[in-house]
Structure formats: C-alpha cells, structure tokens
Amino acid sequence: MGKRFRIFMILGLALCVGGFFASANAAGLVDPATGMKITEIHIGDAGAFTGDAASPCMEIFHSAQIALDEWNAKGGIHGVKLKHIMGDDAMDPAQAVNVARKFVADKLMFGVIGPPMSSIAQATMGIYASGNLACITTAVSKPSLTEQGYKNFFRLCARNDSHGWNCALFIKNYLKAKKVAVLNERDAYCVNMAKETIKGLKKLGIKDILHETIVAGAKDYSSVLTKVRVYNPDVLFFVATTAPDQAIGVRQAKELGIKATFLGTEGAKDVKDFIEASQGAAEGAYVYHFAPDIYAIPAAANYVKKYESKYGTISGFGPTAYEAMNILLAAINRAAADGKITRKEVIQELHKTKNYHGILGFPVTFNKKGDLEGGATYFFKVVGKKFKQVAVMTGK
C-alpha cells in the first residue's frame, strides 16, 4: 500500500514539474478579451478553391502559405506557431457566408486573406466586421466595398474606379481606339468595372461605345458577338470574371471574324485556362492586371524561386497574396509584442501600415478606408504562351 502510494506521489510530482516546464517553454500569448491562452495563431484564407476560379485562388493560397512558412521557420510569432486555414466558397456567396461564420467563430483566428471576389466580399464583409476579423483582400476591386465604413477590410489592389479609368486611358492612348465595344457579365465586379471604364472613355471623348451584357457560363456568346461584329469596333473589352469564359469569348470573336483588339480582365491572365484554352485565338490579345510582372522585380526573386520550384509559373494573383500575408503577420506581430493580442488590436496595427516595402515593387500604404494608396494598372499582351507586360497606367 505504502509503496504504491509513494509511486503515485512521485508520478504526480513529475507531472507537476513537467507541466510547469512545459508552460514556461511556450511563450504565453493571451487574448485579454476572452482570457484565452493562444496556443496557435490561425490565419484564414477565403476563396473559390474549387470551380472556374480555382487556379488563381490556389495560387493565392500557395503564395500566402510560403509567407506563413517563412514566419514559422523564424519561430512563429511570440513563440506561437502559425496555421493557414483554407475556406472554400466555390464562388458561391451562400457558401462564403458559412466560411465567414466558421472563421469568425474560430477563437484562434486573427486575420483572413481574401476573399478575392467582389460578390463574395459583398456577401461576407459584414460577418467579418461583426467578429472584428481583419481581412486583406488581394483582388477585390469594387469601389463601394471600402465605402461602407467597415474598419476591418483592407485591399492590396487598386479599385475599379482606378482600373476603369486606367483601362480607358490604355484603350485611348495605347490601343488608339475610336470605337469601343464593352461586354460585361452580370455580377458585382464586372458590372462595376464596365461602368467605370465607360465613364472613363466618355471623359476621354470616345462616344462610340456599344455596351452589352453576357451571361457567365453560357458557353455561347455568338449572338451578342455577332452584334459586335456588325458594330465593328476597334477594341472589344470583354469583362468577365474567369479565364475559361474569356477563352470562349476570344475564340468565338475570332471565329466570327471580329477584327477588334481583344482586351480581357485580370481573371484572364492565366496561361492554361486562357491562352491554351483559346486554342490560338488569344494571340495578340491584351489583359489588364492589378499586379506588375513579378519576374522583373529583384526583391521578389526569392519568392518566385520558392513558388516555381513547387507549383509552376506564376500568373499574377500570387505575389499580392504573399505580400498580404506578410503585412498581416507583421501587424499581428506588432499586436502581440506585449504578450497580449486581440482581433481589434490587429486591425489597429494594420491601419498603421505605411510604406511597406515588400516584393510588389511599390510601397504599400493603406488609407483610412483600408484602400491601397496610389493604385496602378498593368497591361499585358499575349505573345505565344506568355503574357508580356506592355504598359503601366497610373491615372495619367
């Protein structure tokens, strides 16, 4: 009896001592709002990881993962490891709402990368705001999203009002067009982008504009493209979200004998789903994008090497995601410096981001609304199986 009691005592003591050392080893990080000990910091990644936009979204995810891995390799934040959690909405706002609720309910989550689509952001930003969860989107460009007073929403790309104006400038000054056809899909981003571009074109004195609507996923645009052919514009601006839709658009336009220069959106900057899927029709077409040619920026070389060794070529959605993750983690790091961290603190720290020099080739500063200051649009031409950067427009 006594012997057994002694064994229990020793075991118990060993457990206590072990426990003490274990707790002393992990640097304590506490959320004072809930009093909870933070054992792991979660970063959400909301996007359409399945579906027609899967390839840009996966590029976003992998790139953000590279940044997060680098932080973990340095020991995490305040001794706490970081974990990147995927939330797939399949481009469906209803599913996105579930993702947002799940992220908000996760007490270990202190920031979100994404969502990358305007319609999805529109459906979920209120939920993220109610949970004080900071979101950095890498691709959402509908202007009104940052005009609603939400403090937790940041974007690392220019807004449609800049893009639209820049596209109008590109169409007028670079493509020298006098007559323009604008086709847009009926969703938050496309409708707004078309509207802003047409506004810009009119301001630049181009009055000959045909504006028509297409149905996404219909796979047949020949009737509306026939109308475009008769109109005979110099430029056809095809405003759709995903690359497969624009591949069909450029192919059917060619097939009908439309001579206009094809200008696609940032979604089309995808070698496989746009250039290859168009089966040769995309040659000579242009696309705009919010990110510059990453291969030309020396500071990005390390990221490019890491990405390409694992996932192949970069289309353009990845670099901003890498940058966004770094900016977010830097803010979390500053918020956690005192051993305490709350979601609100993370938002406050993000607002202090000024002249952050990362891999994008321009300094990142967020204004009061959470928008990127400045805001350039980059233009690429399809040459063979590559996108060649041909122009940068900065609103002038």
Binding site: G51, I214, K219, D220, S223, P244, L256, Q279
Partner: protein
Amino acid sequence: MIQGLILPGQDMHLFLLELPQQLVNGLTLGGVYALIAIGYTMVYGILGMLNFAHGEIYMIGGFTGWWVLHLLSRNHQVFMNSAAVIFLMIILAMIVSSFVGVLTERFAYRPLRNAPRINLLLSALGVSIFLRNFVLNYQGAKARTFYVSSLIPKGLQIIHVGPVVISFMRILVIILTFLMMGLLTLMIKRTKAGKAMRATAQDLEMATFLGIDVDRIIVMVFIIGSALGGAAGVLVGLLFTQVDYYVGFQAGLKGFTAAVLGGIGSIPGAMLGGVLLGLCESLAVIFLPSEYKDVVTFVILVIVLIVKPTGLLGEKVPEKV
C-alpha cells in the same frame, strides 16, 4: 425607352447585316435545344412526368465526349482520324447517357410508377441534384476544354458565305442534329417499336391489354431520349469547346421550355419548339440589348401558352374515362 433598343427602319442596314449570321447562330442553338427537348417530351408523353434529371444526362454526355477526345489526343492533337474521333465521341456519349438514363428510370422512377405524379417529380429533382454533385465530386468544378482545333484542317475551319461566317463545327452540328431528328421521326412513324411507343403514350393501360410490354417501351423511351441528350452534350462541347458540371442546369431549362413551347408530349412539337427558341434568342439580340434575350424567349412562351395552352403542336388529349 430601353437603352440600346434598335427599331426596324431606324437602323435597317445594321439589321440586314446582322440577320443572316444570327439565323445561323439561332439554327445551331435551336437544333441543340430540340435534341434536349425531345428527351423531355418523350418521357412526358408516356409517363406524364417532367424528367428534371434530363439536363444532367446532357451534361454527362458532354463529359463522356470530353474524355474520349482527351484519351485519343496527346498534347491537344488527336492521333486518330478526326471523323472517327468525332463519331466515337458521339456514340460513346450516347451509350453512357442512355445507360445513366435507364438506371435512373429503373431505380428512381419505376418504383414510383403508381405513386402520385408529384412524387415522381421530386424523385427527378433528387436525381438531378445527385448526378450534378456526383460529377462535381469526381470530375471537379473546373470547366474542361475540348481541344478541337486539331480535329479540322486549318483551311476548313471557317467558311465565308457572303456576309455570313460559319465554322465547320457549326455546319456539322446543324447537319447532325437535323439528321438525328429525321431518323427519330422515321423510327416513330414507320417501325413497330415506334407504333408501340405511340400506343403507350396514348393510353398506357390499353397498350398493356393489347400485349405491348410497357416496361420495355418505357426503357426504350429513356434510352432514345437520353442518347439524344448525350449527343447534344457532345455537339455543344465540340462547338463551344467547354463543359463543366453545371451546364446541365441551363440546358435543361432551355430544353424544357422548348418542349413546352412546342407542346409537351409531341415529338415534332419539341423539334419545332427547340428551333424556334434558338432563333428567337438569337434574333432578339438584333433589336434589344442582349440582357433582354431570355426575357423575349419567355414572353413568347407565355403568349403561346395563353393563345394555345397545349403548345404549338400539342394536342388536347380527350379525358380518359
């Protein structure tokens, strides 16, 4: 005043420039709608149910065609005779689609044959959701591209006829759709099986008394309807070069509308309805902004149903006593 509205007379030269091309566009689309509508109308004619899973059968046909093309090409180049490849795509899609059609009949509809019609309808909706998600699960949500440019020699790909540009694929699709419709009409009119089908459609019970194996006829209807739907899936894939798990929804809706427009239950009606629907959609774009395309289609449907509730070629079946 709707912005972008073009009235005849106001811009007549534009209208004349656009018309022939839109007729070609409409005819292609209409042929495809007609093929899908036939599946709806045949099943309705015999079972009195709307087979909402038919759009999914069409989608599965498209995927089958994609796989055949994919397996028979390397680096987007086919390594077999192109005519043989297209033939195989269509035949295999028809086989797979009719197989799926027969399976749905056997397991989802036959057990409910004597249940109220609404149960059958719900079962069909369930099958539709199941098939769509099954394909989503196993094929993914991303659109698949049909790499068709190696199928047709460069010089033949696009043909100019006056102001009309017509691709070889379009000609092929128009010919094949109308050929299939012609064959079906012959079969229904001339063969014994066709006669039995017509008899079953007219009065299922009476047909049983006359020694017609009704179960066999129903299976046959599902085979034919699904095969045509599957063929339509491949033809659209060849023409528009993409298929994804969701294409069945829109195609099903259009096929169903075409069937109702032509008079549901009537096979010539489905053909007429499909072609008319395709033409209306394309021609509407000439006068109206393209966002009103579907509005025009459905306005026409409503008007036809008000004037002739049974549809264009639908017959009023006398009440069974």
